[in-house]
């Protein structure tokens, strides 16, 4: 919750020459590293814990003693698509920023719009994925793999959603012509947050989906 409407109140140069808000978002990102590290540790500790019930497995099909058939949970093509979307959105937002800094409103709107689109689709992908998993029998409650999977990816998804909302307000601002180059910092800060959410996914993707 950075005070993002807030610039240098005092009309003074800062001691480091760096903008307060940009430093704040980096600080926040640093702090978030520990947040996701804890969630990832939790996932790694629990990923092989299947005690409380026959359930589906991430990578293998399985037939329970009672004859129930479970499909493997994870669908690599789907998440690969999501991953690609996030990666591209990172590229798009950096291009949007470059356009903002150059004062090219059209370019800004285009690239930021594409970023948003990617964000939307990523969130959509995750909603689809979650509901699909639930159909296959994996829920928050079914076992600790499910619990820690949903917690980790769910909190990441929440971050993406917040990022989408943030970028959307910026897109509207830009549309109304309120992001001249002098204010491109507003976008830069949101973009930093967005990239961070992306790098977290860069870790989650192999750790959660690819490594068995």
């Amino acid at each position: 919750m950075a005070d993002h409407a807030h610039a240098l109140e005092h009309g003074l140069e800062t001691s480091t020459g760096l903008d307060n808000r940009k430093l704040a978002i980096w600080t926040f990102i640093g702090s978030e590293c520990l947040f996701f590290a804890s969630l990832i540790s939790n996932f790694l500790v629990h990923k092989r814990t299947w005690p409380s019930g026959p359930g589906p497995f991430p990578h293998d099909a399985w037939v329970s003693p009672s004859g129930q058939h479970f499909e493997p949970i994870i669908e690599i093509p789907l998440v690969t698509l999501g991953t690609a979307l996030l990666l591209f959105s990172s590229l798009f937002v950096v291009l949007a920023l470059a356009n903002a800094q150059r004062g090219n409103r059209k370019g800004l709107l285009l690239w930021l719009g594409l970023t948003l689109l990617c964000g939307f689709f990523f969130v959509g992908m995750q909603v689809y994925e979650f509901s699909h998993f639930v159909h296959k029998g994996l829920t928050l409650k079914s076992n600790l793999y499910g619990a820690s999977f949903f917690t980790l990816t769910g909190f990441h998804g929440t971050h993406v959603t917040l990022g989408v909302i943030w970028l959307l307000t910026l897109w509207i601002e830009a549309f109304r012509g309120k992001i001249p180059p002098a204010k491109s910092l507003n976008l830069e800060i949101a973009a930093l947050y967005w990239h961070f959410v992306d790098v977290v996914w860069i870790v989650i993707f192999p750790v959660v989906y690819l490594i068995q």
């Binding site: 690969t80 990666l87 470059a98 910026l170 309120k178 910092l185 790098v199």
Partner: protein
């Protein structure tokens, strides 16, 4: 978002920001690395895993971690501008990152000890 950010912060740095071309190139590299990750998965574990793939399984995790670290570094250095931005930003990011990694690793090690030796039975 009507704060009066000083024009200096954005404009001054504009000059040394890499051009859009660089961003796109990085984007391509990121995409290729991701494809590599998935390809590696398919080759060693996935539906297309043959005997050759299976012999590679021991290398799968380290290679995968390396690839993702590379992607991580590319995004942080170029898209997040750490490479040419003030070093303080790198510090504010990297220090927590190191602590975070140490925390993950040590938690895994400590828990693994328990699973290995202290299980009741």
């Amino acid at each position: 978002m009507d704060a009066h950010a000083p024009p200096t912060a954005a404009a001054a740095h504009d000059a040394d920001h890499p051009s859009s071309g660089v961003y796109v190139k990085i984007g391509v590299v990121l995409f290729v690395l991701t494809a590599l990750e998935v390809g590696l998965y398919e080759f060693t574990y996935g539906g297309h895993a043959g005997p050759a793939g299976q012999t590679l399984q021991p290398f799968f995790i380290p290679v995968l971690l390396l690839l993702s670290a590379a992607k991580f570094a590319l995004v942080a250095m170029y898209y997040m501008h750490l490479k040419q931005d003030h070093r303080l930003f790198s510090g504010v990011f990297v220090f927590p990152l190191v602590i975070a990694t140490v925390v993950i690793v040590s938690l895994i090690v400590l828990q693994a000890y328990h699973f290995a030796f202290a299980r009741s039975g």
